[in-house]
Symmetry: C2
Subunit: 430 residues, 2 copies
């Protein structure tokens, strides 16, 4: 339904921000092109559960085409954006050029290794489905190889899993990983010796989850310790070669697994606009979410730097992206109508983080909750926020099942083994 | 619980044959090592549904460790077998050597391209989860790219899907693929023009599914035609370069997709034993399933050539492998006890093939069924045969859901796009 006489709005990214912006514009007299390199929206808050075998990939991904099945003013383009030519209001993508009257920029964040190339090469990151599946396959393989390993040192290194970064991702991953190895895999691998398993969460500062109060933060640390996670503060990681983790103190930890949850930054695409950048390479947007000197470009989500009324940078979380998506969509229309734009105001819906079964911490409705009630709240909120009935019902079944039987959803190693595949030679048929 | 004083039985392959053999030996005074390059048992009868987005990979795969959780006389080894040194009763694997007193060989079949290297390079095969996911991703990508494509010739080539081989795999894949594109994707891609979609099933002989009677075979062909599949007989494929399919007649069909279901042969590992080979490179086993001149080696499933009482070669189907697995397990014990071995007799449980919703053909209990009743039977039998309650319940939900709402389970493209991923450069953190 492309109509060239309509104002052209291009949205880069089908994450929480871009998708919400597109939905906000559903009934507007505009033509929208939504561009993403994947054909699905990813429910990132549960990505760590793919990495820890709690849910399967397709249960937290939802096809963009299904989301916008009934939205007639939108075309989806499966493509990678290589160039933003802001001076000419033009994008270069792997599927050709796109011109825009308004650009909504929502490509999200990427992992920041702070220039540590060696770590980047050997450590795991957790930003997309491929990352999550790579972690899951690696963990399962380590356990599989550990039970066959006669050398106790190598065995312990395989069973030592290090996560660095005490934000929500690091905390949730550490808790889930500990339950996976200690409770779920332990049942299937009766040779696994629990005393040889080690899960370490290393944090550079002195507390977990900066968005939480000291009390909740301490409760999260205590809950992790109960789950068998060793939490260490003031403990930055300075190296990893696939065999040992090097700490700033000089200590080395023999381990085959480092999951890097210690840094995020804006997608580097945003640097092409030439706008002023703030911390983490984010664009310092105006209160209207516009990019300075480019009133036709809106930047939202993990790539936008904006402070709340207390002068704090807005966090890189789904609720921020969703609310900004809505605001950017509305402001884009105002911009096209030459109406005055409105400043974005973030309404904090609260923060939730789970540590594992029966354990979560929550700061919500002015309350600080932890334990079972917070966990139940976390479960309900996440089921509810998932897109699509299929995904909701399947995730619910996985969780009930796992809860009752301490089982994992996906315990198969999907990328083959480290093994060479024999090359079949030709045989004539009968 | 490895006990070196016990007789050592090594089983290669955790498919239907190998798994059943291992289960048959559950209470025997032997030590079993089960070797496979994957850590899961694959329910191959539903593999084509992974390729056509009907179920997800993890729903038809089941971890070997979970199957054998309570079997104390078995160790699983995730490894690739590179050498069978039958003279010394010894295997070389990627995880070290294994010695055996009895070897049960069940590595399964591989795709046979009859030496057509060019076809092998560009066509898709359908033997494992990677193959199935590659097909699914490719089909979804073709549709995605077709709706963006202005050139009608290229568009039609992207929407032409060719399957060659009219056995059960080809028939089931063609039916499911037609429903996926015409019924499921059509809802999400409103620009998709049904008249541009073409699904072709090419068979070299004059009938579908050799195991069926002429009547059932004709019914299968008629049902496929109704589903929008163009079935052509006497139509061998002689070439494919990724852009067009070349037929023996000289005709070319512009298409980006050739699924090769036209040939299977025994895994080439079996050639190392030096035993006499029959059609499709299979070992001509004795009636006891032993390999000639190697009474300590049993060959079962897709790699074993054996005739039924009518002189027909046993088909490469799950029921054959399962029954042979049981027989080989029992005969292995008899061999170790120096008791007389028993010849294997195949009991045909019947053949079932589905053509899509409400349509299947069945030859079972001496009856020839087709249509809705056969389809319902197919559904019940396959749910029932799946391993594990999780997989059963999830597949059931997928099927009910798809049946009611014409939806696909997995419509996400999981291997990224054909697109180059931008290499992020480093940014210092705040």
């Amino acid at each position: 339904m492309k109509n060239d006489s309509l104002p052209q709005i291009v949205i880069i990214g089908s994450g929480f921000g871009g998708m919400t912006a597109a939905q906000t514009l559903a009934n507007a007299q505009v033509h929208i092109t939504l561009v993403d390199r994947n054909n699905y929206h990813l429910f990132t808050p549960l990505l760590y559960q793919v990495a820890t075998a709690g849910v399967s990939s397709d249960e937290i991904a939802y096809p963009v085409h299904t989301v916008f099945r009934r939205q007639k003013n939108l075309d989806f383009r499966l493509a990678d954006v290589s160039e933003i030519d802001a001076a000419n209001r033009r994008l270069v993508t792997s599927m050709g050029e796109l011109r825009y009257d308004v650009l909504i920029l929502a490509p999200g964040g990427v992992t920041n290794f702070f220039g540590e190339d060696a770590i980047e090469q050997s450590a795991f990151k957790l930003k997309n489905l491929d990352d999550a599946e790579a972690i899951r396959n690696h963990i399962l393989k380590q356990v599989e190889l550990a039970v066959q390993e006669p050398d106790p040192e190598i065995r312990r290194a395989r069973l030592t899993f290090v996560i660095t970064g005490g934000g929500p991702t690091g905390v949730e991953t550490a808790g889930a990983l500990s339950e996976l190895v200690r409770m779920v895999l332990h049942k299937d691998y009766n040779r696994l010796d629990p005393s040889e398993i080690k899960i370490l969460l290393l944090e550079a500062s002195d507390r977990l989850i900066p968005a939480f109060s000291d009390r909740l933060s301490a409760q999260a640390a205590a809950a992790l310790a109960k789950k068998g996670v060793e939490v260490r503060f003031h403990c930055p990681v300075t190296g990893f070669d696939g065999n040992q983790v090097l700490l700033k103190s000089g200590e080395t930890i023999p381990s085959r697994t480092l999951i890097w949850a210690a840094g995020v930054m804006a997608n580097l695409l945003v640097q092409q606009i030439g706008a002023p950048l703030g911390p983490q390479g984010k664009i310092k947007v105006l209160p209207t979410l516009q990019v300075p000197d480019h009133p036709e470009i809106f930047a939202i989500g993990d790539i936008a730097y904006l402070q709340d009324k207390h002068g704090q940078a807005l966090p890189m979380l789904a609720p921020v992206a969703i609310q900004q998506g809505r605001a950017a969509g509305q402001n884009a229309l105002r911009f096209l109508e030459n109406a005055p734009l409105e400043p974005f105001v973030y309404k904090d819906p609260g923060t939730l983080a789970t540590i594992g079964r029966n354990q979560a911490v929550a700061h919500i409705w002015g309350l600080q909750l932890s334990g079972f009630v917070a966990w139940l709240l976390w479960v309900v909120v996440h089921i509810f926020r998932l897109i699509g009935f299929r995904n909701r019902i399947l995730v619910m079944i996985e969780w009930i099942w796992d809860y009752l039987f301490y089982s994992g959803a996906v315990l198969i190693i999907t990328n083959g083994t480290e093994i060479e595949k024999a090359e079949p030679i030709k045989v004539a048929s009968e």
